[in-house]
Symmetry: C2
Subunit: 148 residues, 2 copies
DNA sequence: GACAACTAAATTGTGCACAATCTAGTTACG
DNA sequence: CGTAACTAGATTGTGCACAATTTAGTTGTC
């Protein structure tokens, strides 16, 4: 029956999403090793290379991560000399994250990463656009479902 | 230029894949709480409900996880009374994982999960099929890339 | 039969990810 | 004002995920 077909497909999809996420992680891991960055750290750096300073809250919104993940992550990045953190003078609850010169300098070395990732996916531009759109729609739907 | 367009799209895709994976995780987390299972544990149970016993190695192949992840995961599941583990008599290097009656009994309660997930994705059947195919192709390409 | 090469799990150490809780600072309302 | 409600981060505890190493068992070759 149709029901059973649906369920099998759903299961395979979920395996597939996780397999893809881990495969992507593996490629990033290999590419970022030389830079001394993990994939989540690289994502954080991409936000910082774009605009700076950002609060932990803003970073969390951009990356969909909470302080329980970001606090230790940023501490490791601070220990590595990539960023520094300071309380906002305007609102002492907030912590502003800034790049150090070393962190800013890493940008040029990281510039080749996206193209390599793009090549590794083996997808064409239109496929990438379509995939992104589908995932975005699905994510929005999943977010809605988890609230209800 | 085209190059820059590619890079932006690649970046957005990577954020998107991670956002999707976490959103999916969130829905599973909510659905599986009553069953006392995490999402990875649920995936392991799905394999076991299908065929049993399986070795840790076979489970790792099916789930794309290594013993460093599976050993503690299976210990927690054993502590929860869902599975038991025993050395294979035929090959003493292997550990066979079997369901306990409690673990087997959980299946009926878990049967409604896939349909709820399917509904939560908000995707139609054809979309799901297409998405799965794209992800599978991309994952294979990524796996290939990480070796080179 | 002995020894090298291989395989399966487990272990150790590092780094996410999130729930729950805590502290400190801010805002709103009476 | 002054206190209640809210917000930002940090902390604690649990559970993946993987690299690297270790231990135990198996297989292949001479």
């Amino acid at each position: 029956m149709l029901g059973r077909v649906k369920l099998l497909l759903e299961n395979q999809l979920c395996f597939e999403v996780h397999a893809t996420a881990r495969a992507l992680d593996g490629v990033y891991r290999a590419l970022l090793r030389d830079l001394g960055l993990t994939y989540p750290q690289y994502l954080a750096m991409m936000v910082l290379w774009e605009r700076e300073p950002v609060t932990v809250k803003e970073l969390g919104t951009a990356l969909r991560l909470d302080s329980g993940t970001l606090s230790p992550l940023l501490k490791r990045m601070e220990a590595a000399g990539l960023v520094r953190r300071e309380r906002s003078a305007a609102d002492e609850r907030s912590v502003l994250v800034r790049l150090t010169p070393a962190g800013a300098g890493l940008r040029s070395r990281a510039e080749e990463v996206p193209e390599k990732i793009y090549a590794a996916t083996g997808l064409g531009l239109e496929e990438l656009v379509a995939l992104k759109a589908t995932l975005r729609r699905m994510t929005a739907s999943l977010d809605e479902a988890v609230l209800a």
